[in-house]
Symmetry: C2
Subunit: 562 residues, 2 copies
């Protein structure tokens, strides 16, 4: 059912690069250079793996001076999937794609496979028409099609995928997804080109985590909305802390491995402490070093009578702590090798005893230093492959337990005199399906138009990219970047695989530098910044904000106010 | 530091009843009738406890036809405190109060005691001037003064309070708080009147929980903002569930005893299941009955291939389940009587063994039916008085564990074939300090103006009340209602005490009737309603919404679209 908010928000017209106004007259005449950051050896390997699609040029999409609008261009038939975790803007990509195709020819047809790539294999789809596009425009969620995490991997799956897409007689497939899904898109593009299929494959960079970015891709859509929602909640909680003066709030933030979300949220809200996984790793901090850092701040704040505060914890933190990472690897190994016997042990105690004598001395030491609840989570709460489910580990509670116990020690020594009261939070699911901000609505829509343009231009193995994101919309530049350009070769499950590189927080980058410059001041002075709820209808300075980290990373804004 | 959101929001001018435009010319000539709902015997007891302030009339605040604006009225000196949990709008009450006093005379002075009533006892205050009011107008949080939960209780505290307030030579004290704080305000009013002090006391109804309402008070401020924020997050999570089709989300909602927040959030978002504590209690459901209800829905949804869903759980639920309530009482008793010995037991196991043999057969049966994590929370995580901390019990996780184990049983019997994956959430602190909605900004500001008017009129022991809240602002009616009118006598810690009655969800009221009418349809049909983020700048139909339960409770709107 509709609501006043949805009715009004549906009226918003996403903005996009001017050039995309007349898709049918676009040309590929203008090329950029294409360079890769990986070693020559890796480039050679990639060329071997992608003989048909490696080494293509970057395409700037625009109008050559000579071409004019082609009337009655050939209609396009295109399939689209939403892949992986939800990100605000997904529906707008599809709207942009649909409308680009309509511009090319009103006889174009878009179908959406349901539930990610498994929808292709099952041939489970719906037709995306004008009503669908209008209904979902500017809404959050991936509920138009549903999403899924499966990849097309086996030779059989590739064949089924080809059979289904060719039966539908599509000209192209658009994969809206993160690094893994875009890697899969590159493999599909190569596969189709190798078998001379007409199916072209285009990827679209999606993820709230912000880890799909590189010298070509400035941002993935969804990041802005998710972080702004988290920032709103963090600043509300900060005000609560400052009003009640009672609790330390440990707030874990979604974002798997990289700490981009936590970094941006910190620049937006000014917490007392912010942990950045990449920094913890670089400084080779152990779990108890991290705990000690937090404890020292709590002791300092207690001295000025502040027994409350805000601590941001990235979801991936625990995997960046070397001893814990090693423990996880050992545990996964033990649990995999002994799964049959372990299945006969039902109680935590019996599993615990068994595991402990299988662990190395280091592993056992680390394991037994963890609170029981966490030990339990590690042993009892496994993913379908039997692996430790890192994203389910409540790192914020782990830290609270260890901080609490260390503070008890310091209290008995008279070093600390406060009462440590605490609350824990995990911000994640509430942000992945929020209605996209103006920025994400515009950006995702533009990515959809660009994907349509790339298919109209007949290229394959490209990512739809929009550049100059910190500039005004008319200066945004639609670009096609070969997916293989973003790849390197990584060891995955014992095999060398070509994958799109995940971008971690760069400790030499401008956003982290800004954080370092500012954060000392946040420890004792409560400089909480109230970023406010996402606004969709108000003045531009409120509704059209950009992520601070994006602005800091761009060349032309050196002095971003944080 | 300021932000674009804050700068723009500061410009909003709260709307208020017309009559409050010229406070200095208001009169008390117009009286309403004052009736109490409690038994004659209780009325008699209350009269005995409040000889000076019981039986005062309700005051409608307006302009008599004969009075004209008094120029150069006597300046007011007033003290204000924020008491109890944060609620959006608290700062606007203070702004309204400040501006009412300025209208009376520019020489009026407002001081705010810090950290609730303990600030009075410590004489810790700040002067609220124009800059303070302008800085905090339309902002969330209680950080202007801080808040506290202490009450003025002992004879000594009453005396200190009087000494401090009289030393400041104030004409009045405004207590912004919930039922307990307003009860305390009533006691203070009586105390000052009995000793012929000039200090008048006025209460203002604050609480996000929505449980401070009665035939005179239509709503407390803060409820609207908090529930709308929670509703936004719930609808985001609903979209996530519908997109990923993977998880059951168990969402616990703040709101202590009463389920008003959960009921309103359900009307806003249409979850698959919503538990209402008051209904569970009326139907005398045990914990396993509640679990079985949830399990049945999960089994039904599994049959139509829906292995995801949204379940709303009120924070207070567990206390409304008779067997659990009895267990808590037993535990509190045992833990209090044996605290010295228990302090010597450090491990959960040793405490557990000791407690179990002290519990009654019923108590022990209930206790051992609970998952270990919950047993641990009950024994290890006590409040400063040694009591079970109900608000810290993760009821959503308790339900998940019990549902999971019951589903395993049904799976082995072949009745259930799904995979039960789940996520748990607690929505609370993120909503208490959000920037107030237009409704809360206006309502709180009007309550502040009304409090100022009541002090100007020289009355004491009144609550500042604004009526006709579902009508347009010009039809809002400022009223003073005697605090004692809302009281009854309750047993508290073995003593009979006069207290303001907490309002629970009425199972015969219109909001619950609407829920009952609708909820059957939500079980299988995902009718998730996307209420959207709180908007402060957009079209009125988006920015000026009212709580659905408030509209349903009002006489003149029978057909509220839910």
């Amino acid at each position: 059912m509709t609501t006043p908010f949805m009715e009004q928000r549906a009226l918003y017209k996403p903005r996009y690069p001017e050039a995309l106004d007349t898709i049918s007259s676009l040309s590929t005449e203008s090329f950029g250079n294409c360079t890769s950051d990986v070693s020559e050896d890796q480039q050679k390997q990639l060329k071997g793996l992608f003989p048909k699609t490696y080494g293509q040029p970057v395409i700037k999409i625009g109008h050559s001076k000579t071409t004019t609008a082609t009337k009655d261009a050939k209609p396009l038939k295109v399939a689209v999937i939403l892949s992986g975790g939800q990100a605000p803007g997904g529906h707008n990509v599809i709207c942009g794609l649909y409308e680009a195709m309509q511009q090319v020819s009103p006889d174009s047809q878009l179908i959406g496979f349901k539930g990610g790539s498994s929808g292709i294999l099952k041939d489970d789809y719906l037709v995306v028409d004008k009503d669908t596009a209008d209904h979902f425009r500017n809404t959050g969620g991936f509920n138009m099609l549903g999403s899924g995490r499966a990849k097309i991997e086996s030779a059989e799956q590739f064949a089924t995928c080809a059979k289904v897409l060719e039966r539908h007689n599509v000209d192209g497939l658009v994969v809206i997804g993160g690094d893994d899904s875009n890697t899969n898109a590159a493999l599909l593009a190569e596969y189709f080109k190798a078998k001379n299929s007409k199916v072209k494959v285009i990827g679209v960079p999606k993820t709230i985590d912000g880890d799909l970015k590189n010298k070509y891709v400035e941002a993935s859509f969804g990041f802005d909305t998710a972080v702004r929602l988290y920032s709103e909640l963090i600043s509300n909680i900060s005000r609560d802390a400052q009003s009640a003066k009672k609790y330390y709030h440990f707030i874990r933030l979604m974002g798997r491995a990289a700490s981009h979300i936590t970094l941006e949220a910190a620049l937006q809200t000014h917490p007392n402490i912010v942990l950045i996984s990449e920094e913890v790793e670089l400084e080779k901090k152990g779990l108890f070093d991290v705990v000690e850092d937090i404890v020292q701040v709590i002791v300092q704040r207690n001295k000025v009578d502040k027994n409350y505060g805000i601590i941001l914890v990235p979801e991936g933190l625990i995997e960046f702590i070397p001893e814990i990472k090693a423990l996880f690897d050992e545990l996964n190994d033990i649990l995999a090798t002994n799964s049959t016997y372990l299945a006969t042990l039902h109680s935590f105690t019996s599993k615990n005893e068994y595991i402990n004598h299988k662990l190395s001395k280091d592993g056992s030491y680390t394991f037994s230093s963890l609170p029981t609840d966490i030990q339990r989570q590690l042993l009892m709460d496994r993913d379908p492959h039997g692996n430790v489910q890192v994203s389910r580990i409540e790192t914020e509670k782990l830290l609270i337990e260890l901080v609490e116990s260390r503070l008890r020690e310091l209290k008995s020594e008279g070093v600390y005199t406060g009462d440590f009261a605490h609350q824990s939070h995990f911000l994640g699911y509430e942000g992945r399906c929020a209605a996209p901000t103006n920025f994400d609505a515009d950006y995702a829509y533009s990515l959809g138009l660009t994907a349509g343009a790339l298919l109209h231009l007949g290229v394959t193995g490209y990512m739809s990219v929009v550049k100059n994101l910190t500039k005004s919309r008319d200066q945004w530049q639609a670009v096609g970047v070969p997916l293989t350009t973003m790849m390197n070769i990584e060891q995955r499950n014992g095999q060398k695989k070509p994958v799109i590189k995940k971008s971690l927080v760069s400790l030499s980058g401008a956003p982290f530098a800004k954080l370092k410059e500012k954060r000392e001041n946040w420890i004792l002075n409560d400089d909480y910044r109230f970023s406010g709820a996402i606004q969709y209808f108000g003045p531009p300075e409120v509704c059209d904000q950009l992520p601070k980290s994006l602005r800091l990373e761009s060349d032309d804004t050196q002095s971003v106010d944080c």
